[in-house]
Amino acid sequence: MLEQKLRQTCRELLANGTVKVIIGYGAAPAGQATRAVFITTPEGVEQLVWNDRCEANLVAYLKRPEVRALGKPAIVVKACDERALVVLQQEAQLERANVFVIGMACDGIGAPREAKCRSCEDQVPRFCDVVLGEVTKPADAASARWDELAEFMKKSPEERMAYWQQELARCVKCYACRQVCPLCYCQRCIVDKNRPTVISTSPSLKGNFAWHVTRAFHLAARCAGCDACTRACPVGINLRLLNQSMAKATEENFQCRPGTDPQAQPLIGNYATGDKEEFIR
């Protein structure tokens, strides 16, 4: 069984000293998503689980100083999580050799399966040190990645603005979307800077629009599409739409899918003289 295989792999890694800590999924009460566990002893691996509620993107923990202090980690990732890891690697935020990556072939998470999983194009991680399991449930052939976005973009600009006005009015500025994101790693986030205050800190529409534009754009051409922000949002704002719109524009204009090529230079921060400019006078 896959879970046993995962535990066995992790037990060996800890026993032979390859890594100091395993960052994996641990059991949760029935009906709830699994929780992150940090295992430092070979006996502890019994806590590890693998099921369709392994929703979190554990890569987010790699940026935390208290986790880094534990020593070399092994981390359990799905293919989408792995893309975030690759982006961190591209941006020189982690030394790949200092992380042992355990990839899980993934049948999709959530019950029912999440939107990102229904249209998943790579269920098996590609750059891991070890890949466990195999895909038994392929993605839904009938759903394409941009379905939801395409449907949304059929609305008129006024309707789209009205939609976001309604959605973002609920935002309480808890910044959970930022905290769970593996790629939001600034030491000091722009919303925490108040001299000058770029983004109004009150949870009013003014500040909420500015924040969500900022969040989405800071992830443009970087977002791995793990949807952690969307799951974390306590008021259920569909942040996935904004991320997708950036991902689609990135693919269409630059033929680039973030996190799929560890050798590639980050898209933003570099340029090509041939970038399109038909919109510039």
Partner: protein
């Protein structure tokens, strides 16, 4: 946005320009006595590569009816590549604004060199005329006035 004393709508246009090309282009338009509408407020920045996208949002927030972002032609950047970086960002940023539902006819991008006083005049006249026809843009600034808590 605001009504003109005469009751005629006069659009407010904010132009974010780079110090080295478009600002000098605007200067040239002035010293050459080229007339262009007084509706434009010029904000001078070091380089288009330095223009934070939050500034564009801010522009609409404070009631701009249209925004122009302009800098050196590709290859002419004072800092060699600032405008290339900016261009790449704008490609994606325009898409984000579009998804959020901003009126894309109200945000303009241009390359205007220090020698193109005439182009500055034409672009600005054109933007102001177009904006005047479209009327005031209150969709976003109105949102910003509302306090939801």
């Amino acid at each position: 946005m605001s009504a003109h004393p005469t009751g005629v709508f006069e659009p407010k246009v904010i132009a974010y320009v780079c110090n080295w090309c478009t600002y000098l282009g605007a200067d040239l338009a002035g010293t050459s006595r080229l007339e262009y509408p007084a509706n434009v407020r010029i904000v001078r920045l070091p380089c288009t590569g330095r223009i934070d996208f939050n500034l564009l949002i801010k522009g609409f927030e404070v009631g701009a009816d249209a925004i122009l972002v302009s800098g050196c032609h590709p290859g002419d950047c004072h800092y060699t590549s600032g405008n290339f970086h900016a261009r790449r960002r704008w490609i994606l940023f325009r898409q984000l604004l579009d998804t959020m539902g901003f009126d894309m006819n109200r945000i303009h991008f241009a390359w205007i060199s220090a020698a193109e006083g005439k182009k500055f005049q034409h672009v600005l006249t054109d933007i102001v005329e177009q904006t005047r026809r479209m009327g005031p843009y209150a969709a976003y600034s109105k949102i910003c006035e509302e306090v939801s808590c």
